[in-house]
Symmetry: C2
């Protein structure tokens, strides 16, 4: 007997598909609004089936956040061409694009992490560390030169690069919120230029 | 008949005293750990009496956070002497001192705000706005000159000054955490110099 005509997905690809759907749902709503019921409806499957893939709501949220963080790291991967500063500018452009497209979910990841949810905090910290490490890796490709600035890997510089990434997060979230509310007083190009220029600026007082 | 020998406090000063005690308790524990019971025990009064001053735990937390934010704004008030950059440096010094002395409570205010508690968020945003406005006021006293930089009040500059304050918050919280764990790799003086230098640095790319 031949199998059923309906395509059966392997458990792994089915889980993949559900995660992608979860991330998509998260782009326009916060984590607190993202329920198993909502996913079941959007996927056209039963809640029971979902509990086959995710033990509970917390496990589902964690998996979706992990996927969203991986997506963020992937889309902001620096280009291969250009000097370190150009590559940084392109990463920033992708970061702003990511926050624009995933505003609600991104804000709720940042907040979920701040709220002290240990799993979300670990995912968030990992993503931030990956983005920060990348600054050093990108600069290292150009012998540490970032524009007019040479990046030396010291605890003080690490601390300030991390601070710069906190600044970018705050500024980009504010900018996207204002922009999506139709109150854009700063253009996207200006925003990108300011953030890129701020990195050597933030480091100008390091010993 | 004369009144009792025991000094009776007016309701206002009693509430004052309880708030100060609340802020003190908050310096070594998070908001979630700060209960009405704990306050009652520390104040040596009954829980019933406390409910006379604070309707419920949420009301108590809100009042304590409001007081903590007011304290922060007060202790970081810029000195009258010196040029804008020196006065900014002294404010930063006081800010680091405040976070050092109130680490647990300060972090929980920041987190409580991020968690989406609307009251805490409003208090936090007000404190941040006050600290940001002050940068403009201080610079204005020196005709907008901040070190080598002239501060012009535009939406782009506002956005980046706010970003600088998010950076300071992140960097100072990290630094105090490491320092209190005995892992201080950056001296306090270096930290202060870096944060002050970062302000004109952050603004270097503004149009």
């Amino acid at each position: 007997m031949s199998g059923p005509a309906r395509v059966r997905m392997s458990p792994d690809s089915r889980r993949e598909q559900l995660l992608e759907l979860g991330v998509r749902l998260l782009s326009t709503r916060s984590l607190d609004e993202l329920s198993i019921e909502m996913l079941a409806e959007a996927a056209g499957v039963s809640r029971g089936l979902l509990y086959h893939y995710f033990a509970n709501l917390k496990d589902f949220h964690r998996a979706v956040c992990r996927r969203a963080a991986d997506d963020l790291i992937e889309v902001t991967a620096p280009a291969q061409e250009g000097d370190a500063l150009e590559r940084l500018a392109r990463s920033l452009d992708a970061y702003v694009g990511y926050v624009e497209q995933n505003y609600a979910g991104y804000v709720s990841l940042v907040r979920g992490a701040a709220r002290g949810d240990e799993d979300l905090q670990a995912i968030y910290e990992e993503a931030r560390a990956a983005l920060t490490d990348r600054i050093f890796d990108t600069a290292a490709d150009d012998a540490g030169v970032l524009g007019v600035f040479t990046l030396t890997d010291t605890p003080a510089v690490r601390l300030m690069v991390r601070g710069w990434s906190a600044m970018c997060e705050d500024v980009v979230i504010s900018w996207v919120r204002e922009s999506q509310a139709g109150r854009e007083a700063v253009s996207r190009a200006e925003l990108l230029a300011m953030l890129a220029a701020a990195l050597p600026g933030v480091l100008s007082g390091t010993p």
